[in-house]
Amino acid sequence: MRYLLRKMSSVIMTLFLVTVITFIVFEIIPGDPIAAKLGIEADKVQIEALRKELQLDQPLIVRYKDWIGNALKGDLGISIRFDEPVINLIQIRMMVTSRLALIALVITIIIGVPLSIITAKYDNKGIGIGTSIFSQIGMALPSFWLGILMTYLFGLVLKQFIPGRYVPMEQNFVQGLNYLLYPAIAIAIPKIAVVVRYLRNAIMDQTNQDYVRTAYSKGLRSHQVMVRHILRNALIPVITIMGMIIADILGGSLIIEQVFTIPGIGRLLIMGISNRDFPLVQGMVIYIALIVIAINLLVDIMYHFIDPRIKLN
């Protein structure tokens, strides 16, 4: 409990600083957001009115307080380009991106974990070096390049999907899932490499522990020992990097959406940046950062649920 309080206070501190950074960064915009919105030929009265509307005449702290107050109420401002509340724009796109990220996460886990087990099981020099080389290469692969290669192979050559023609899941579940599958794999491959690199070592460490010998002495079969005893212990160090992996998957989908023209938050963000739609970009940055912080907190809490030893301190 005390741990949770301490953790929460540090998360709130981080949240606060993240909002401050985001706020300040958007204060140093070169050029005039008003000129961007009204064009160069706007007259003085119009400019003054908009200045008031955007509260640019207020001091920094007041504006921050207003901005954060509104943000807490779910109001992230109005997009200049779309003339719509930013939060609405984000929420629609977030549906798509969260699906993509979720599929990528599932793929990472259902491939990464068994692969770690298999490579850890055959603990010899060849497999050790082979796994190490493959995971190093895997981690170095840029997911957007993998995405392009997959577009070529599965889209253009094997014709498993039509590149550029995104199908929403609501419209056709199977096709929608199929379309998200390839970008998800592209995001997942480097993350699988990360999982294998860490989990394989953790499994091999755990395999030499005394309690594993005890488990065998009970008459458990080796797959039972692996799942019930070794894996549980080996996953603990991996869970600590899980938050980072999820953040990376979310970050990776920002770019991959561009490769596959998926209308998620990544495309929206790029559109916002290209159009210098600052309220949109600012709102999205804060939104995404918040989600990632929340996920990290969640992973952290989960970690303390899984490992009973930590509750003591």
Binding site: L17, I21, G128, F144, W145, I148, I255, V285, I288
Partner: protein, 270 residues
């Protein structure tokens, strides 16, 4: 056996990095063709003797563009790491040396910078400052500050309780000198490792930003932008898409392995 495996990483890393560095150096004096030289009649050539890696949609030699792109990648990597290293050491030293509230505030800010996932922080900067190679380097540099700050600070925390620092202070050695002579040597090798790894992620990030059209702008050549240009002609010229990706992967791999290898040599237990 373990030790050999790690130095194996180190050697492979060295070889890859040396290879890429060689390309960078050669590109300053020689490229097979000038990168801007278009030849519409020679569009989308497959790799052949005249054009080892083929040509692009304007008939430009891909090998020459890759070579020029390596300059950009290394430039972005070096300068952003330089920015990160300079401010990281500065902030880490101040935090570690003074401790207390100063430390708390600085490190909290560093935590907050790390809390932005992936490219988001860089994207935010590019959105505000505008696109281009300089802003890309600044954004990636700022992104890498916390890494270096944390390492520097941890070095201070390790060394601070030791007696000889007190002695140095008591005989009137200046704060700056204490930092430079007594503490920095202790963190130099983790910093080198972080530089190598950071270089790898800077190259990857630059490629990502440029792919999105928000990083390096023409006429500066960039592997990432080559990828985004090539995507339109994927069916016609797949090698055009494959080659820049290989070079990005190779750079990231080389610097990661190098960093890994250095840290393994430094601490064989790991």
């Amino acid at each position: 056996m373990k030790k050999r495996k790690y130095s194996f990483n180190f050697y492979i890393g060295i070889v890859i990095v040396a290879f890429l560095l060689g390309i960078v150096i050669v590109s300053f004096f020689y490229t097979p063709y000038t990168v801007t030289q278009m030849n519409i009649g020679k569009k989308f050539l497959k790799p052949c003797w005249e054009h080892l890696l083929g040509t692009d949609h304007f008939g430009r030699d891909i090998l020459s563009r890759i070579m020029m792109g390596s300059q950009t990648a290394f430039q972005v990597g070096l300068i952003s790491i330089g920015i990160g290293l300079f401010f990281g050491i500065l902030i880490g030293s101040i935090a570690g040396y003074y401790g207390g509230i100063v430390d708390e505030i600085l490190m909290r800010i560093m935590d907050a910078v790390i809390a932005f996932p992936g490219l988001l922080f860089a994207l935010m900067f590019v959105a505000v400052l505008g696109q281009g190679i300089v802003n890309t380097m600044i954004a990636l540099g700022i992104m890498s500050i916390p890494q270096f700050a944390r390492i520097t600070r941890s070095g201070f925390l390790q060394v601070k309780p030791l007696k000889y620092i007190d002695m140095a202070k008591s005989i009137g050695v200046s704060n700056f000198r204490i930092m430079m002579v007594h503490i920095l040597p202790n963190v130099i090798s983790p910093l080198i490792v972080a530089c190598s790894m950071g270089f790898a992620s800077a190259v990857l990030a630059e490629a990502g930003l440029s792919y999105l059209g928000l990083g390096v702008q023409p006429p500066n050549p960039s592997w990432g932008r080559m990828l985004s240009e090539s995507q339109m002609y994927l069916l016609k010229a797949p090698t055009y898409s494959i080659v820049p990706g290989i070079f990005i992967t190779l750079s990231v791999l080389g610097f990661n392995l190098l960093g890994d290898g250095i840290s393994a040599i430094r601490d064989p237990r790991k």
